[in-house]
């Protein structure tokens, strides 16, 4: 298990400067504590592998700072493989730091980013994920980028985020357009842009794309994908043997780690944990109701899922952030096939980008696949207040669920800002739904 890096002497001042920023220092220093805490459960391979990989990512980042390596900023609809394939370029998803602070339960930094973004002109009704990113960029916490990449998926919030990256990055910017449709022409259109992106990245990072290295990166990406698929299969087991809260990590894997050994390690850790728990017949809570959590996880406090499990017997085997469509393997044969495969991931697999970008049918169809595949009893539509595309389709979504006789809970909250809807209010809504609607219905057969 890697420990926080001891800084090398030669460029220590730069890395020290970087780590002096309280926003990084808190994360960096809390990793060993968190790892100690979670390692008390020797079977928690999923969370432990995540914490180990985040530590490794942070160490790599420090190395990149020390070595004056180029940084590439991008927003959460993009994947990191092409950047990893440049060798020593460092990918920075601009939501990274705010999300990490939410994950470790340190709301002060996350809320500071949100408030700072609003003070700088990001309207209050915009997505808090963007505000985390904008606030962090305004605070100057990320190493300056050699160049920046923006993509319009999954939603308008990412259009906004891309615009802000282009403005605040003060570096050359490349926009990737993913059209509305879900077809082969769309994938080819995106692949064509990835071919354009490569010389852009090469020119600005002063690194050469090595297609053998890209093949290795894509191979790692495939290993991660296969592990995720197998993991999600184990999570179909009834009763659910692994903690609900882990399911949302697929998105983080795709954004931060895809194409890296860390990504493979996390995915295999999650898989191993799920498989072993099922094989041991483990059931650390009494499962009464299984829900598909559609829309956004409660990032501000993932422990709420533990509470759901313990107090309500509610499990969440799958959610929209965790669902990884079975279309994502990259053909490693040629650079062309790899580029097509990478484009297909962005169009058809990336959680949210797949469901949020096009028409409502994809959104509803994927939900139906989840409810059937993971044998769920109900849907919890956790309506992040700024997800306009989801709220914009709520009437049609409700009609589809009513037709299928699936109980549905809808509530408003903000996935990164607990000031909008309190933890207690979320729990109250879910409690009532489970105990008064779903469980009685289930008992009635």
């Amino acid at each position: 298990m890697p420990e926080p890096r001891k800084l090398r002497v030669n460029k220590m001042f730069r890395a020290e400067e970087f780590l002096k920023k309280p926003e990084w220092r808190t994360i960096y220093q809390s990793m060993p504590t968190l790892r100690n805490f979670f390692s008390s459960d020797p079977n928690a391979h999923g969370f432990n592998s995540l914490l180990t990989s985040i530590t490794s990512y942070l160490n790599n980042m420090v190395d990149h700072v020390e070595n004056d390596d180029p940084f590439v900023w991008y927003n959460l609809g993009f994947n990191s493989e092409l950047i990893y394939a440049l060798g020593d370029a460092c990918p920075i998803p601009v939501e990274l730091l705010g999300v990490m602070h939410s994950l470790i339960g340190d709301h002060s930094v996350a809320l500071d980013f949100i408030d700072h973004a609003q003070a700088c002109g990001v309207p209050g009704d915009c997505c808090s994920a963007d505000k985390l990113a904008s606030g962090a960029m305004h605070r100057g916490v990320y190493p300056d980028p050699a160049c920046t990449v923006g993509i319009n998926t999954p939603c308008d919030a990412q259009v906004m985020n891309s615009q802000v990256i282009a403005e605040l990055g003060k570096a050359p910017f490349f926009a990737v357009d993913v059209p509305y449709y879900q077809d082969d022409d769309t994938i080819k259109h995106v692949a064509k842009q990835l071919w354009e992106l490569i010389p852009f990245l090469e020119e600005n990072t002063k690194r050469k794309m090595d297609y053998d290295r890209l093949r290795e990166v894509c191979d790692l990406s495939n290993q991660m994908t296969e592990a995720i698929w197998e993991w999600l299969e184990w999570r179909k087991h009834t009763p659910l043997a692994q903690s609900s809260k882990l399911v949302a990590f697929t998105l983080i894997l795709q954004i931060m780690f895809t194409g890296s050994q860390e990504g493979v390690n996390i995915a295999k850790g999650l898989l191993r944990e799920a498989r072993e728990r099922v094989e041991r017949g483990e059931m650390f809570f009494e499962e009464r109701v299984r829900a598909v959590w559609y829309q956004d996880p409660v990032w501000t406090d993932l422990q709420i899922y533990d509470w759901f499990e313990r107090d309500l017997g509610l499990t969440v085997p799958v959610d929209i952030f965790g669902y990884y469509a079975n279309e994502g393997l990259i053909d490693l044969k040629t650079p062309e096939t790899m580029m097509y495969g990478l484009a297909r991931k962005l169009v058809s697999c990336h959680p949210m980008a797949r469901q949020f970008r096009g028409n409502i049918d994809v959104y509803i169809r994927d939900f139906m696949n989840m409810i059937e595949g993971w044998n769920a009893d109900c849907c919890i539509f956790a309506g992040h207040i700024a997800c306009k595309h989801a709220w914009g389709g709520i009437g049609l979504f409700k009609e589809a669920l009513k037709k299928a006789d699936i109980p549905l809970l809808i509530f408003e909250f903000d996935m990164f800002d607990p000031r909008v809807t309190s933890y207690d209010d979320v729990f109250f809504e879910v409690d009532r739904f489970v105990n008064e609607i779903v469980y009685p219905k289930k008992l009635r057969g």
Partner: protein, 389 residues
């Protein structure tokens, strides 16, 4: 202001439809509604149909739209979809929606699944105006043409496209002439009325509009102009088709002498090349590379330069930015303008949030009044400084 034509135009844009649209329908000719400035009306005109920009002016109730799209969707789209669901747009023979934004994209879902409009089309417009993406847009236009041809059993020939270009060019030239009358020291037309005229250009048959605007320009010739305003504004931001909202802004002594609104002056392209061998390419390029909407990623530097140039050209005193609540692309624009303006120009800037259909609010008046005062104080200080020198 002695303008009968203006009174007529004001009245024509007070509803989502008008008597000329009714006449068109009565003649058995089709009408195709559209949402966004990236839809080329020339294509619709070339098919023999009337392009009608969708609006919800006069809507007082968005409850049907709320039910399907929630209160988190922008009120412009929600009100329109309420009217659609309330069958007020049932006279349409078709509609075309774009991936302009999440709201309009979801409006397409509701249109397709819940309305009786017989022809539904979709154009996916690339999210950045890069040359390498232009072919994709052109191909989408071709698909749109094929869809119209198939459904309406018509042929959209090059000749018809060229005719449509000629027809719309007439209005472009007239609107450009109108906009020059706005920037005089004593503007000959208010920003509210100018917006009404621009809106009319998107909801009337082009020949009818050309005739009205020619009359208006004629009537304005002898008009000496409005009182010299206490402040000259450039208006920018989200969709805005409500002249009353601009009237509220202007109620505090300022005048909107120029704008970059998609229903307003931004709707006016430079005249397109006429009688070409490839009119679709001419149309495609003009629309794809037009002064962009904030939905176009990475094009903010161009929009900012255009805004600054406009500001200087019309000798403005301040920028008024208005944004429909829940609009993310223009939310980013608000942030970026504030950021760039602070770093570069420090132009007087007022940012307003609004809901559709709530034009005359005290809050807007108060904020504009304070903005005008700020401009006047800065002007007085500058004059005093110059005297001291």
């Amino acid at each position: 202001m002695p303008c009968e034509t203006l009174v007529s135009i004001r009245s024509l844009v007070k509803s989502h439809t008008n008597r000329y649209v009714d006449n068109w329908k009565d003649k058995g000719k089709p009408i195709i509604g559209y949402f966004c400035q990236y839809t080329p009306p020339e294509i619709i005109l070339a098919s023999g149909a009337l392009p009608l920009r969708l609006r919800a002016i006069g809507s007082e109730d968005s409850s049907l739209g709320d039910a399907y799209m929630s209160s988190r969707t922008c009120t412009f789209v929600r009100h329109i979809m309420s009217m659609v669901l309330d069958e007020k747009y049932d006279f349409l023979d078709g509609q075309v929606t774009l991936n302009t934004c999440d709201h309009i994209r979801r409006a397409s879902d509701v249109f397709v699944k819940k309305s009786d409009v017989p022809f539904n089309a979709f154009i996916s417009v690339p999210r950045t105006p890069r040359e390498s993406l232009y072919d994709y847009f052109l191909n989408e236009l071709k698909k749109f043409i094929n869809g119209i041809e198939e459904h309406f059993e018509v042929k959209i020939s090059k000749k018809k496209l060229n005719q449509a270009i000629k027809l719309t060019n007439i209005n472009r030239k007239l609107l450009t002439e109108l906009n020059t009358l706005r920037i005089l020291r004593r503007p000959k037309i208010s920003g509210a009325d100018a917006l009404a005229v621009h809106v009319a250009s998107q909801v009337l048959p082009p020949d009818v509009f050309a005739s009205l605007l020619a009359n208006l320009l004629d009537e304005l010739k002898d008009f000496e102009g409005l009182e010299e305003p206490v402040a000259r504004f450039v208006l920018t931001g989200t969709e805005l088709d409500e002249p009353d909202y601009v009237k509220t802004i202007e109620s505090q002594g300022g005048v909107v002498v120029a704008d970059q609104i998609c229903f307003g002056a931004r709707s006016v392209l430079q005249p397109l090349e006429e009688d070409t061998d490839d009119p679709l390419d001419v149309i495609g390029r003009a629309y794809f590379f037009r002064t962009s909407c904030a939905r176009m990623i990475g094009d903010f530097p161009n929009r900012w330069e255009t805004l600054k140039k406009l500001y200087k050209d019309v000798e403005a005193d301040g920028i008024v930015f208005q944004r429909l609540i829940f609009c993310d692309p223009w939310g980013a624009e608000n942030h970026n303008i504030m950021h760039r303006n602070r770093d570069e120009e420090n132009l007087p800037f007022l940012s307003l949030s609004r809901e559709y259909g709530t034009a005359s609010t005290g809050q807007v008046k108060t904020r504009v009044q304070a903005f005008v005062e700020k401009i006047e104080i800065a002007r007085a200080k500058k004059a005093a400084g110059e005297q001291n020198v």
